[in-house]
Amino acid sequence: MQTTKRMLTGNKAMAEAIAQEMERDPNVFVLGEDVGKYGGIFGATQGLLEKFGDKRVLDTPISETAFIGAAIGAAAEGMRPIVELMFVDFFGVCMDQIYNHMAKIPYMSGGNVKLPMVLMTGVGGGYSDAAQHSQTLYATFAHLPGMKVVAPSTPYDLKGMMASAIRDDNPVVFMFHKTLQGLGWMDQVDESVGEVPEEAYTVPLGKANVVREGTDVTIVGIQMMTHQAVAAAKILENQGISAEVIDIRSLVPLDKETILNSVRKTHRLVVVDEDYKSYGFTSEIAAIAAEEALYELEAPVKRLAIPDVPIPYSRDLEKYVLPNAQKIADAVVKLMKE
């Protein structure tokens, strides 16, 4: 057992999980753009080429339909590919392979074809990368049946959930947040570094995490928005409001019970998302609360998300559309008066 804490960045935690699974299982291999020498633009595959060679770590041409489709085909043959789509925004060029094939083949085959693969992809904005490189698109993927969709927010979960995703016999879309990778060239956020055990371990897919207990209001967040919600809870604490914060971690499967149990306790619900507002994660959680716990609520559900505009470039414009701790705290204060 570890005696001293070992701290890792998000991307190193992911790369360690992948390396350990590659050691365990010769069928695991990695492919994608710049996953080799570069180690992944966001560092999720660093060190893998050196350790496993170019037969198991493949740099691809800029041909997403071809290499994601190839991952599907290889998975059907019993391999366990991990394929990287560099930015989730690029899904547009290859979505047919993802949602018409990866997500549907297991079902259409009546369960006779398994696709044990991971599609990992970088999400998120906040650094002025504008409309085609800043989206999260959580709901776009979570809407379509047939793939698990996870979005861990700590190095510990990035490692444990990556191991689970690789071992899972279903296709898993593994979304990692760029700002939580611990990259030297991005905003340095404390949450991008955390304690990670050296030995292999798994964190189950489909379990939300109560990251902060509270009694007055439930705030449900995802990735960066979980961390913003925790910061909001600290602001609220000074104002005598006790907020419970839930990190959803997994969009599909969704852990409804953890949310509903919390709502039954606090009777107020705020949902925070870094995706577009309409038809999204916040809508889904609000709908579940309305369907299953309406009479527990003492105030309307409050949703914070991107107000249905593409992500703008200029810094103040982007700040305006992204939820943050202060906006969450303000919304909660207002809600407490309802």
């Binding site: 710049d34 570069y38 800029i62 041909s63 990368d129 470039y313």
Partner: protein
């Protein structure tokens, strides 16, 4: 080949302007990012892909285009924009995220749109190729002799959009020219590790009505020559062309790229073959202009760039609420 003097001098001036523009951006981009690099900090945040070394591709073909011809460019767009005559003040203001920018600060450096000169660019690799084909189709439908040029990197020639569009453009004999800037790299992946053909002009053989041209050694004069042929073919309605030009990426893929994947002596040896120096020597040795005239051109180009940066810096930022505008018209 003989190239009209005014074209030669325009190419030189435009290459100088483009290079100097990028040099100013290197500086502006670095502001606020020292001592610790942070992609989101400073007056010019976000990704920044610069074109130093790739100027010949842009000027060689844009020398044959008018305001009515269309250019679609990728994530590395400044040299194309400058050669196409995009409003430099408003382009620079956009890169600084200002209200006076081409997109009122909403687009940024990868998303520049100047409909006045029919220029656009985008951050999704190969996405401009079919859109340029659409401009070519529109020209054909309207019965004009306008053409459309899609600039792409060699990495983008492996995207489905490249192959789908070339087939369609050949089928419909569209006035489309795809210029492939082969700078040998797609981020960290060398062309040899991504592409199963030695040069992309050869891919023209896959389609009827399509001609392929190869420009070696980043030569602006040869680029000018083959572009003239390709543009004339397109204007005559004879179909699309692919021009591959061997070009140089003097800088990283983006600013801040540690470039651990590239041999340390690659860039220094490329710099010895700087196309701007070479065209300048040609101008002087052939007597197309005197030292003095060349210097005047250089100063004119640089002054224009300096004025654009000043305009950008002095412009106002948009109001935050403006984020909600322009989704629909």
């Amino acid at each position: 080949m003989s190239i009209p003097k005014e074209k030669l001098l325009w190419m030189y001036e435009t290459m100088v302007k483009s290079r100097y523009y990028e040099e100013q951006l290197v500086e502006a981009y670095a502001e606020g990012k020292k001592p610790v690099f942070n992609i989101g900090a400073g007056p010019v945040p976000g990704e920044m892909h610069l074109s130093n070394g790739q100027e010949p591709a842009a000027v060689g073909i844009c020398a044959h285009l008018t305001k009515d011809d269309t250019v679609a460019s990728p994530h590395r767009p400044h040299h194309h924009a400058i050669a196409k005559g995009v409003n430099l003040n408003r382009m620079t203001a956009e890169i600084f995220g200002k209200e006076t920018g081409l997109g009122k600060g909403k687009g940024g450096h990868m998303h520049l749109f100047d409909p006045e000169v029919k220029f656009s660019c985008g951050g999704i690799v190969a996405a401009g190729i079919p859109q340029a084909a659409g401009a070519a189709l529109a020209a054909k439908q309207k019965g004009t002799d306008s053409v459309a040029v899609a600039f792409i990197g060699e990495g983008a020639a492996n995207a489905g959009a490249f192959h789908e569009t070339l087939n369609m453009a050949a089928l419909w004999k569209l006035p489309l020219i795809v210029v492939v800037e082969n700078n040998s790299w797609g981020i960290s992946v060398p062309k040899t590790a991504s592409t199963a053909i030695s040069s992309n002009d050869k891919r023209a053989a896959a389609y009827e009505n399509t001609t392929g041209y190869l420009v070696e050694d980043n030569d602006p004069i040869e680029m000018y020559r083959v572009s003239q042929e390709a543009v004339e073919r397109a204007r005559r309605g004879e179909g699309p062309s692919i021009i591959e030009i061997e070009t140089f990426r003097f800088l990283g893929h983006f600013q801040g790229d540690p470039e651990l994947y590239r041999e340390k002596d690659e860039v220094p040896s490329l710099l010895l073959r700087d196309p701007i120096e070479r065209i300048k020597n040609k101008i002087l040795s052939e007597g197309a202009a005197s030292e003095n005239e060349v210097e005047q051109l250089e100063n004119k180009a640089k002054n224009e760039v300096d004025a654009a940066f000043q305009f950008a810096r002095e412009s106002e930022y948009p109001k935050p609420e403006a984020a909600l505008e322009d989704v629909f018209c």
